[in-house]
């Protein structure tokens, strides 16, 4: 039975590899766009204008509160009657970006609370502009404190990319689904998908731990669970 499965797997190999490539591409893109939008949201989340802070608090609550699949369905199936028709890939990128950015902004905000406010005051007292204080003091520390949470989010993005097949995006999981539908070996197919995801996650975890080691601040330890890194 396994030999038969692997024969089918090899037959479908090119399609499955393409699906895997698309899954990785989607993960990479939304990890980057979600990271940068998350940074922007985080920055303005602490700006001096109360109305902007309120709006961004609402943004974070809304997108963390809304299941990703609902957002994707809203955009993919809900928008065409309004004349907005987007490709599955575009919907996935936009939907994931809004969702991931909200999570990342929340992680950064949590890390912000671990900052020593005296350092920020010292930087202001030295004559740094508010943006310089952000760029030179706040951001380098907040990013370092957030590395576990941010890298876990990348892992979560990879795993969540599988839901994009529900809006007709031909990712890795959808290709495995097709394989299973042709030979009815569902258990083997899904087990294969699980092993592939697990291996990819292991690679990402290794990279994440390397980054953590490289950027940690000597002598400064912030409990990971207090920074939301237990997300995965």
């Amino acid at each position: 039975m396994w030999a038969e499965f692997f024969r089918d797997l090899v037959d479908q190999g090119p399609l499955i590899m393409r699906g895997l490539g698309d899954s990785l591409l989607l993960t990479a893109i939304v990890s980057l766009t979600g990271f940068f939008l998350g940074l922007v949201v985080f920055y303005f989340r602490h700006c001096q204008f109360a109305i902007i802070r309120l709006i961004l608090r609402g943004y974070i609550s809304f997108f963390i509160g809304m299941p990703l699949i609902v957002l994707l369905f809203l955009m993919y199936y809900g928008l065409p009657p309004w004349g907005v028709s987007l490709s599955p890939f575009s919907v996935a990128v936009i939907g994931f970006t809004f969702n991931v950015a909200a999570y990342n902004a929340a992680y950064l905000t949590t890390a912000y609370h671990a900052l020593d406010s005296a350092e920020l005051e010292a930087a202001r007292a030295a004559g740094f502009r508010p943006f310089q204080v952000f760029r030179l003091i706040t951001l380098p520390q907040v990013l370092r404190f957030s590395v576990p949470a941010l890298t876990n989010q990348v892992i979560r993005n990879l795993k969540d990319s599988s839901v994009a097949f529900l809006i007709q995006f031909n990712d890795f999981f959808s290709r495995v689904q097709e394989l299973a539908a042709t030979n009815f070996m569902f258990f083997r197919a899904y087990l294969f998908a699980a092993v592939v995801y697990l291996l990819l996650v292991m690679v990402l975890v290794l990279i994440a731990r390397q980054i953590e080691r490289r950027v940690m601040i000597p002598g400064v330890y912030i409990a990971p669970e207090s920074l939301g890194s237990s997300a995965v």
């Binding site: 020593d116 007292a125 004559g127 601040i217 002598g219 400064v220």
Partner: protein, 245 residues
Amino acid sequence: MALIEIRRLRKLFDGHPVLNGVDIDVAEGDVKVVMGPSGCGKSTLLRCINRLVEPSSGSIHFRGAEVTGPDVNVRSLRQQIGFLFQQFALYRHLSVLDNTALGLRKLKGMKKKEAAERALHELNRLDMAGHRHKFPAHLSGGQKQRVALARALAMDPAVILLDEPTSALDPVMAREVAQLINRLHGEGVTMLCVTHDLEFASAIAERVAFLDEGIVQVEDRLSVLYEDHAHPSIRNFFMKQERSS
């Protein structure tokens, strides 16, 4: 003319006056010490001078110019006034050298090498050059205070404001800081120090200003203030401290 002239300075928090008409002068090359009990407004006074806190009324002249006006370039003002915080406030993610050089690079526009040389010179002056690659978490309280001083001195300020510089230090380190301040005083550095540590104050100045209930109650030699003073708050403060020391 004094380097800093403070007149009738008031600061209200939620309608409550923390400073209620403070008059203080700091002359060039002077080490001025302001003492007073906790919560008397000492830190607020320092923060008003570099506008970390906005005064409610009164005037502060620095180098002859009013600093409380709306058209003052606050960033430029702050670059001329060094500030030492109670808890040192070193940037945790930067090494000792980078802590000292950051302002030189980003505020004074020095090249990396030039800033590092200048920072190293200041660290050397305070016997901290050997620790230049360490991070703040690996320094003792006294060493952190030296780095904070080096960071302030590197910017070549006209005056350094010291906010309770010994409150986070043990007595031995506090004495070291006192020696350091005396050395810098000898080199012509102007300082305004607020503290409630009598031993430290007596080690760095002969005269102190006593701040309480929002005003300078008295400015006199410490030896006079030790004596049984007519003003009850002064008597309480100095006699209590003398007993505890």
